[in-house]
Amino acid sequence: MTARIDRPLSPHLQTYRWTLTMALSIAHRVTGVALYTGTLLLAWWLIAAASGPAAYSYVLAFTSSFLGKLIVFGFTWALFHHALSGVRHLVWDLGYGFGPAEREWLTWAALIGGIALTVIVWVAAYAMGGGR
């Protein structure tokens, strides 16, 4: 094992005032982990569809239950939020949007856009006859 040299750790959470970009950075990571675990659900859905009507009925039962809808709703938000926050990162990768006003605007856009898209898609889903 390598000898552990005690590097000084800067206090962060106890010291710095929470900024929007800071909050959304950790939200990007948390939604990423949520999506990672959510792929299990997607794989289950596909495998059940490939297995036949009996297996698929379990998926339908899950998605019509309250808990199931809550999880899928959360997953939808996590997806849209992570995607828009990711676009924000891509903009930064290209070198744009680092100014103080721009980065705040980008961050707000990602946050509000994620919520808006989630609501729009879910309203549309209910209108299309889902959730029965």
């Binding site: 990423g32 792929t39 794989a43 596909l46 495998i47 569809a49």
Partner: protein, 139 residues
């Protein structure tokens, strides 16, 4: 003490590098350009595909198994889903690995969890792809 330190200004701090890092002649670790590029590539791929994928999922609503299976098995839908699965699995593997490298400090546990991450992603990818192939007629 490295060779340069013996000639260095005595007021300079001692090196923070681990002996192993110095022996291996490594700099700071974290992600190399390979992962950086792959992460962006798969991200853009998924951004391009997200609208079709959302549409496919919405098409599942209110449909029974036979109808859902037929949609999922049709060529264009199957291809788009397969592309999305490949992109998302590569993306999530890299992403999770970064998280594990950030927070797991025990070397053995880190290796084990990175392996587990790789295996998880491989299983999800293969199982989902298998399901799609099975749903496609004739396979």
């Amino acid at each position: 003490m490295s060779i340069d330190e013996s000639h260095a200004n005595p007021r300079r701090a001692t090196s923070m590098r681990t002996p192993l890092g110095r022996v291996r002649n490594l700099g700071a670790s974290h992600s190399g350009t390979n992962d950086f590029w792959r992460q962006r590539l798969t991200a853009v791929a998924m951004i391009l595909m997200i609208v079709p994928v959302i549409i496919v999922v919405m098409m599942m609503l209110g449909r029974n198994h036979a109808a859902a299976a037929q949609i999922l098995g049709s060529p264009i839908v199957a291809i788009v889903l397969l592309l999305f699965i490949v992109s998302s699995v590569m993306h999530m593997k890299i992403g999770m690995q970064v998280i594990l490298e950030d927070y797991v400090h025990n070397e053995k546990l880190k290796l084990a969890s990175i392996m587990a991450n790789n295996f998880f992603c491989a299983v999800v990818a293969l199982a989902s792809a298998y399901a799609i192939f099975k749903l496609s007629s004739g396979v």
